[in-house]
């Protein structure tokens, strides 16, 4: 089994047949994490507990009683999910050193399935950002910056010509998870998706990023950004793996999260032979957003043609309120942020300032020292929107528009469209030096534009890596499905994935660790 293999068909089988042991697998991942440390994908690597979990898994395999397909599979979790005994920081000074006494439901479910938790991945502070550049532990570097593909194509821009200034961002805010999956340091990772935070870095890092329907996966233990939009996201190497994670452990009712579905979720496997000829694919015209690169536009229509050629109906549709989405998103997001962040006062947990003049001055100093500018800015504007005199003008209005946006989708799906096909990002990943020219708010407004409407409407959406750009960087397309129709969404995504044959990243570090076995075509893992 290679580090680059898919779960169901390859790794799980290899584990079962004893061709590789969980400890071996875990150790290889840990080694790779070390040699790719420069990516800054992980905030905490839980080497000791991971190896212990791997040993326990190994024992289960030895007894012939593995817990399921995820038993012994090394995974990583974004550092805004609570993990008992392992630091949970949200990449913020506020929670540096914070060790939660409990596991998030999704983390617990992964552990219950025998998965091996390698560590916690980097992000923008409290998941507020679209670059994974604004965390207290520094920016995450996109593994593709160091790929053969990118190196060959990128012409040094400036006089320096140094590789150092050329590296590109991962996107965000789940950039650490995307980089971890993309560099093969884990087989799957959890992210979170509030406005695109799973799909955006997935697109930039060339991995699959699934944002499930709101309410399908428990948020208990996910440190919230916007409660009414947050969804745990799944980042994997291929669509099949996303289905494995969703079905075998994550989805379903959680008594600890009152917003999860009441009904039981039936796990599913995706078929290998997929017929898309009876499908109707919608192309929302509003997603021809300003700033959309011509490259991505071309790729988008090529993708539409793929479906057309396979006999599917491809129709242009309209989601007329899309253009208001990002503004409303910001009002609702900052309002909830202002509320959610109120608990960080330095009393019960987290950072506490030494300021002792009064309780109020201690609060103020704690929050000033604990939060970065982005977080404080959102708290400030959120509180402004929630003021008595502004509440109707901003918050209520934004909620009403949110309803209209959700209704846009309902209408389109009611008209017979099964799946919407859109770009995930406006362009490929920007070099870090370029990206930081703009402030976080502007960047988020640009970068979330294609993704956050799905969060406003609570719909499932997935990024499928599609091709490499002229610069040798990944570009992905997004599929948006009907509420709770993950199976249909993933089936279409899997078909598309098979058609496009997205190339495997060629990383020196991976090749070293994987010598000999790496020659596999990635498509092998889909079969």
């Amino acid at each position: 089994a290679a580090l680059t293999d898919g779960l169901r068909s390859q790794v799980s089988a290899a584990l079962k047949e004893g061709r590789v042991s969980p400890t071996e697998l875990c150790q290889r991942c840990l080694d790779l994490i070390k040699s790719t440390k420069f990516l800054n994908a992980y905030i905490t690597v839980a080497e000791e507990t991971a190896l212990k979990q791997a040993e326990e898994s190994e024992e289960r395999y030895r007894r012939g009683q593995p817990l399921g397909i995820l038993d012994g599979i090394p995974v990583a979790v974004k550092d805004n999910f609570n993990t008992a005994g392992i630091e949970t920081t949200c990449a913020s000074n506020m929670l540096k050193g914070y060790i939660s006494p409990y596991n998030a439901t999704v983390v617990q479910k992964l552990l219950d399935q025998g998965a091996v938790l390698l560590g916690k991945t980097n992000l923008d502070e409290f998941a507020m950002g679209s670059g994974s550049t604004d965390g207290v532990f520094g920016p995450v570097r996109n593994p593709w910056s160091y790929s053969k593909q990118y190196k060959e194509k990128s012409v040094p821009k400036s006089h320096s010509g140094e590789e150092e200034s050329n590296w590109v961002i991962t996107g965000g805010s789940s950039g650490g998870s995307a980089a971890a999956v993309s560099s093969f340091t884990c087989f799957a990772a959890l992210g979170s998706d509030t406005g695109g935070s799973t799909r955006n870095p997935a697109a930039h890092c060339g991995v699959v990023g699934l944002k499930p329907t709101y309410g399908l996966i428990s948020r208990h233990g996910l440190i919230p950004l916007v409660n009414s939009m947050d969804v745990p996201g799944i980042l994997t190497r291929c669509v099949d793996d996303a289905a494995v994670l969703l079905g075998s452990s994550l989805a379903g009712h959680d008594p600890k999260d009152s917003t999860t579905i009441q009904d039981d979720f039936k796990p599913f496997e995706l078929p290998d032979l997929i017929d898309v000829s009876k499908l109707s694919i919608g192309i929302p015209k509003e997603y021809h957003a300003p700033g959309l690169s011509s490259e991505i536009l071309a790729l988008w229509s090529k993708a539409a043609d793929l479906f057309k050629d396979a006999g599917a109906k491809v129709v242009e549709v309209s989601l007329p309120h899309t253009c208001y989405s990002i503004v409303c998103y910001h009002v609702l997001c900052t309002a909830e942020v202002a509320s959610n962040m109120a608990r960080f006062d330095g009393l019960e947990y987290g950072h506490r300032s030494d300021m002792k003049d009064s309780t109020e001055s201690m609060y103020a100093a704690t929050r000033r020292e604990g939060f970065n500018d982005v977080v404080r800015g959102r708290i400030l504007s959120g509180n402004y929107f929630l003021l008595k005199q502004n509440y109707e003008k901003y918050f209520v209005k934004a909620q009403k528009v949110r309803r209209l946006i959700a209704n846009d989708f309902v209408k389109v799906f009611r008209s017979g469209v099964d799946i919407l096909l859109t770009p995930t990002t406006l362009s490929d990943a920007a070099p870090y030096t370029e990206f930081i020219q703009e402030d976080n708010r502007t960047r988020s407004a640009q970068d979330d534009i294609l993704t956050q409407a799905a969060n406003m409407a609570g719909l499932p959406a997935i990024n499928v890596p599609t091709a490499l750009s002229e610069r040798g960087l990944p570009v992905g397309l997004q599929f948006i499905g009907r509420s709770f129709q993950e199976k249909q969404l993933l089936t279409v995504a899997k078909w598309f994935e098979k058609q496009v044959q997205f190339p495997v990243i060629q990383l020196e570090e991976v090749e070293r660790h994987n010598s000999g076995v790496f020659q596999h075509q990635k498509s092998a893992s889909f079969s």
Partner: protein
């Protein structure tokens, strides 16, 4: 005056502000709500307006949104779940029992129950509010538009009772906060989160009352109702029932005056005192040319007056926002109940309605009707926990007429218990023993003087029956003519000299 049945107040004689002298509350209300007496000073009379906001702690094993236990006086911070401490990532899960308690209370207070109610976040920073917000029901509470009837007596005579009604604006479910203990000498604040997240019902009463006595009677009736329902233990001393009073005064025909909020009232007696003091203070303030500030005042029970509370953060904007982690609270009735619904997952209002126990007003009516006792006696019976049951139990075990039994219950039993600060349950004389005693009296085996003697012996709780005491102390009434004659003869024979002296006189 648009107020319903509210009295008009005049400035009391004493000019200076200060603690109320005893008996001052006799100025109290004209409960009849009748004509306005002319003022001696010739100044326009004042109409006091009193509204109440009552927080009743829900009697429930666990908190409103978490599984932590609810228990009074547990060791500090021993009943705190991750959610109660607002650990990041925790979510509220609504406690079904708390919802049922609120529905019961709403029904008992004649409210309409909202089939769909919503939860909101109310933000403010305080050390004993770990999340920085309280989850409450600001927009759509669980119950609205109810009423509460209560009775009070006129001129301290139990024989003249008046029934009044106060409108209930709403009942909302909300979380309690923790407790802050300020240690001024070491300038530190200690926080106990045991109470944080305990379920409260906030009952908002319209300003339909006009004096402390009315407010006290209304709260007492509410307390009885909550205790009858079991929705709250409603013990004020333990903070299970917290009453804040909004008080203002105005002249007839004029708009309401600026109101103050009086807090920190921990008994019904103090409630009446605090309100009457505040009314008087406002009248004096206004008549001296002052103004009333819209402020929060605390009642100082030692001084018997209200004092301005240190305003914590000035005027607050609570920045209300819908609680995104709780879906709307949907309740059903027999009509709207979906057929395929799991009964564990739904709350049926009609089902709760059918199972409501008799409310105090109904119980009183039944007592009056069944036993022929006076209405005011029925109030006394219900005001003491367990007394009505005790009375009924005695009645069942004795041939004595209930009308006579009530005298023994109210005059003898109750006054003894009060003297010794005992509850009915702690009474050394059980209903069985009292009934036995009353039976002896009823059968004319003892005189009522002897009965009191036996009762005095019974209080000692030595385990003797009334009959044993009667025998021991030879208290039987003698009804045998011959025996009586013999006794008399024996007395005469034994006192020969005295008899002769009497005859000689």
């Amino acid at each position: 005056a648009a107020r319903r049945g509210c009295a008009l107040w005049r400035r009391a004689g004493r000019p200076a502000l200060g603690p109320f002298p005893r008996g001052r509350s006799a100025v109290a209300c004209n409960v009849g709500g009748g004509a306005v007496p002319a003022g001696k000073s010739g100044l326009a009379p004042w109409i006091p307006v009193v509204g109440l906001e009552i927080h009743a702690q829900i009697s429930s094993n666990t908190k409103l949104f978490s599984g932590s236990q609810v228990q009074f006086a547990a060791p500090p911070n021993s009943l705190v779940s991750f959610f109660d401490a607002s650990l990041p990532g925790t979510l509220p899960v609504l406690n079904r029992r708390c919802v049922e308690a609120a529905v019961m209370t709403g029904l008992a207070l004649n409210c309409s129950i909202n089939k769909k109610s919503l939860f909101d976040r109310k933000h403010y920073f305080y050390a004993d509010l770990p999340a920085g917000y309280q989850i409450t029901q600001q927009r759509v509470p669980i119950a609205v538009n109810g009423s509460l009837s209560y009775s009070l007596c006129i001129d301290n005579k139990m024989s003249q009772m008046v029934t009044k009604t106060v409108r209930i604006k709403q009942i909302q479910l909300e979380q309690d906060s923790g407790k802050s203990l300020h240690d001024d000498t070491r300038s530190q604040t200690l926080v106990d989160l045991n109470r944080a997240g305990v379920g409260l019902m906030e009952v908002v009463m319209e300003p339909d009352m006009c004096c402390g006595e009315e407010a006290a009677a209304a709260v007492r009736e509410l307390q009885l109702i909550l205790q009858t329902l079991g929705s709250s233990q409603a013990v004020m001393a333990e903070g299970q029932l917290r009453v804040d009073a909004n008080v203002s005064v105005h002249h007839p025909g004029e708009p309401y005056g600026v109101r103050t909020e009086v807090k920190n009232i921990n008994s019904i007696r103090f409630l009446a005192k605090a309100i009457d003091y505040e009314i008087q203070r406002q009248i004096e303030e206004l008549e001296n040319g002052g103004t009333i500030l819209n402020e929060t005042r605390a009642f100082d029970s030692k001084l018997g007056c209200t004092v301005p509370m240190r305003d914590k953060e000035g005027k607050q904007d609570y920045r209300f926002m819908p609680e995104p982690n709780l879906p709307p609270l949907i309740l059903y009735d027999a009509k709207s109940l979906p057929a395929n619904m799991n009964h564990q997952q739904v709350i049926n209002i009609d089902w709760i309605h059918e199972r409501l126990p008799d409310l105090p007003s109904v119980k009183r009516e039944k007592l009056v009707e069944q036993y022929g006792i006076l209405p005011e006696h029925s109030f006394t019976l219900l005001n003491e926990d367990g007394l009505a049951e005790f009375f009924e139990s005695v009645v069942k075990q004795t041939q004595m007429k209930p009308k006579k039994v009530i005298g023994w219950i109210l005059n003898d039993l109750l006054s003894y218990l009060k003297q010794h600060s005992l509850t009915v349950k702690e009474s050394p004389v059980s209903s069985f023993l009292l009934a036995g005693l009353l039976n002896l009296l009823e059968k004319k085996e003892i005189s009522s003087t002897a009965a009191k003697q036996v009762l005095a012996e019974l209080w000692k709780g030595e385990g003797k029956t009334p009959l044993e005491i009667v025998k021991e102390q030879k208290l039987e009434l003698l009804q045998d003519q011959k025996e009586l004659e013999q006794i008399c003869q024996a007395v005469i024979d034994g006192q020969e000299n005295e008899v002769i002296m009497m005859l000689l006189e």
